[in-house]
Symmetry: D2
Subunit: 310 residues, 4 copies
């Protein structure tokens, strides 16, 4: 990585933002639930946090959006905290090579999801949290409030309800895991919890701050240990191999950072030892990742020489 | 990464070697071809090169073994050199989520292999080399001789012949790609080339030296550019998401380095900016990766704090 | 078919029964639900109805057993009656080539089950009945009482409850169809209906009589039209290509009659223009079909020269 | 079946031909090899043989066409003759539920083709013939000449060559079976034999006459036993469950006769005890079966009441 003075860094972010915005109009806002389809498409924002506590932004980085699958990163962190190594009984850590919501592999692999970032895996994580937490939804929201230092974070209940109403495929996965004895709580209850996680609203600044501990060996800047160093390495490894739906390989190839995306258009990326980053733009590419957001991260990685692989 | 004095580093390598050797007897030497099944199983070696030109070893690091699929890394490097971006027409860069020699995905994805490290992808790379090189086998061997500074490298022709004789599944893949118009040269010829690549013999020292440029932004210590920095990042990214058969996720999770394994029992790993590493032990785990070798790299990563994800 | 006098026919049935009973002890009673696992395994019975109203039996042909998937035949008949051609919107009529309870094909074929005899297809038939019948369970039982001329037919409620409790995989299928918009009623309600169908208890005589209209161009011996001749041909065709789980091909090859089996150990077979037959023996082969029952039908077909293919 | 006087039967055939011809223009001539793509599309013919030696025709029933996959029926007959029961070692008899030229199932089922009518199965049959026949191509042609009483039957060598040149997918299947040890002869040689079988040219009259023994318990009208009665039943059963690519279920549902189709536009059907039938029209439906031919058989079955299922 090149050393970049702060003013220069901000300038670079603005240039990147301009370039990335040129893709707006070429993607497609998620429309599988009506509540998401309503979002204004031509938005873009970017926030980058360093380990000195600085936050660099470009675009409307305070604008809250639906975090959707980015929640899977934080529910995994919760579950790693509670279960440690035991979490991986009945849960894999390999890329799936399939669509994020596919059932075929779940069937042929006896109800064991390939990793915690495909839907089946995230549902299993929610099932495990349900077994041990008194109020899993509340607790995830509290964790995110604390990490992002934003007490106003909230769930968009219309989105949550909409997710529930269009959740038949997730129900199918949960029941299939149950048929294999790998799902322990009532399906309806876990689906509700999952829908609430997806419907949390956060801004780029919120998310970059919330993920910063992953760039800092598991600790917040205040020295609170969220994960151990070893657990942090492992979560980042999972983000690298499985974090971007069926474009994880492409993201590693072009960007080269651990990352997690959501169909709300957000992508969180980690440059261990240096930065946490969040980009947001609602239009998605065919793989379900933010079109302009992905490109912005590629430009950022190339311009600033950020990549774990170099 | 912790700073480790040289004498301390050597001591660590010996401790790791001792621990890793404890797994010998619990794996299984590759036996799909008779020529490989004959290897003495209880061997272990390790070599680590730094960017100052030092080579640290443990065990019989000068003992040559069959590099097998590790050759896929170097034939990819050749092809990237010749084709640049065009190489990726007809070749993916996503983890497959399937066994390395599976045909199912190749069929459903119209003859486009998921990545260059599954067999189908490596065969396609050999096909592309065949189209542009006058003598692809000779040229790969020359590249490896030059990178490893060992002019005595050779092909084990008994192994190559044995590979050819047991190559029906590879022939099936090649013909399937041909059926989709994604394979351009005579199948027999490309299979022969591929078999010769797999049958090259190298030691841990040879391989660690040969791969060092991937830890050095694409350059040899003499300043010869093998790949550009961007290409190097990309090859390392591919190694990270696809390099260890269907254990790439596990390798990222436990080791956290770009790597490539072969059924001869070798694994090459890269710690960008610092080290190239090669371990070797012939007994394999169920995924086809060296049992003791994988474990040695895990110990090395944990002990020395090597991981791209932390 | 050879002409066989009645006394000779009865003698043949007894010989066949003796031979078929020799397989008892070599199969395995269905144990996926506790209520079925309790059945006494060494039982065998056979009943054959001709178009003159004669009933020929061997073994305990009055003993009632759980009809299980044989119910799928009769719920299909109900649905054909109600929907006619429209039934086939969203429902295929091809052999699946997969296990009867597999989800993979349902996923890749957009929630359209291959045929009405795999679980997904039978669930869809129940869903369709639910849409149009005021009391689908009651009505199926009434139909069976009427066809078998046995007003005492009943549902084993313990078996039905047990089916419901172990119905997660069926729930997964139903939700997956719902996700594709091909399932219209509440999943729980349809599963309950389906479980009740499977838990109906009938004897070989009951079932042979109930299926006789399929040998008589759709009419009962009293002249009541259950199906039109064309519909009858079509139901028999479906039985021939899809009626015996993933052994439909084998059953055609060895027996050569339209048939439907259930994991309760019953198999119904039709020799159009001549006979309906029901055999029962609780032990199953690996495909889930009655071991002795399948063999008895093979002997019957060979001895009496019954086969639609000759 | 209704009794139909001869003159009436001929009239019916003409009416059916008229109706079926109305579909011409709505299908698509096979174009995967240039030699087939040249055929004049708006042709239709029909021939029906009864057990008294009468031949009824409509359209240009003497016009020879490429029999393509209909050859699989006759090479199976040859192999049943030579191998008897042993043929089924390494060869299934279940519908595949997949496209006729798919590899996925072959891979997951260890190189054992589901049935002799998908490409993999037919290639295996040719491999077995290669092992035991001195000149398998010559011998199949001789058999067909003899059965059809037409000594002028010939192979279209341009079509055969074209098949060979576009045979990569078949080569892939053969090599995959070889990889599982279920293919014993040189791939090239067997592919050549297979291509020659497909390229045989016959007319509707030739084919109906050649298949008549399947309606006559395995015997020609001269009393020559081609197959035993049991073998005949079994071949007809296989035709019924697997004979029309992935429309075997539909063909049973709508027509209700054992049948075999080819991409040359021919379909042979058997009404055991009564008729053999051949229809031909080059335009295919999406499943690769003759569009007008399939419809003609449906009309024929409905009009004359021909169906094994009624």
């Amino acid at each position: 990585m090149k050393q970049t003075p702060k003013s220069e860094l901000l300038k670079q972010l603005d240039i990147i933002t301009d370039k990335a915005r040129s893709l707006i109009g070429k993607g497609k806002v998620a429309d599988y639930i009506p509540a998401l389809a309503k979002v204004v498409p031509d938005q873009f924002a970017l926030a980058l946090c360093d380990l000195d506590g600085n936050v660099y932004t470009s675009g409307d980085a305070n604008k809250a959006f639906s975090i959707q699958s980015i929640s899977k990163l934080f529910s995994l962190v919760q579950a790693v905290n509670i279960y440690g190594e035991d979490l991986w009984q009945g849960l894999g850590r390999e890329p799936s090579g399939q669509r994020f919501n596919s059932l075929v592999q779940l069937e042929s692999e006896n109800g064991v999801p390939r990793n915690p970032f495909i839907n089946a895996g995230a549902l299993l994580v929610c099932d495990r949290l349900e077994s041990r937490c008194s109020a899993p939804n509340f607790q995830l929201l509290e964790l995110l409030k604390s990490l992002s230092e934003n007490t106003k974070l909230r769930v968009d209940h219309e989105v949550a309800r909409s997710e529930m109403e269009h959740g038949s495929r997730n129900a199918a996965m949960a029941y299939l895991m149950k048929a294999f004895g790998n799902f322990h709580n009532p399906v309806e209850k876990v689906l509700e919890s999952y829908a609430h996680h997806c419907a949390i609203e956060m801004s780029c600044i919120d998310l970059a701050k919330a993920a910063l501990f992953l760039a800092n060996q598991g600790q917040t800047l205040n020295g609170r240990e969220i994960l151990s160093a070893l657990e942090t390495k492992r979560v980042n490894a999972l983000l690298s191999t499985c974090g971007l739906y069926d474009e994880a390989g492409e993201f590693a190839f072009k960007v080269g950072l651990p990352g997690k995306s959501g169909v709300g258009g957000g992508i969180v990326a980690i440059y261990p030892g240096h930065y946490s980053i969040c980009v947001w733009s609602p239009e998605l590419n065919v793989a379900g990742n933010s079109l302009a957001g992905f490109y912005a991260l590629e430009l950022l990685a190339d311009t600033l020489g950020l990549s774990v692989y170099l």
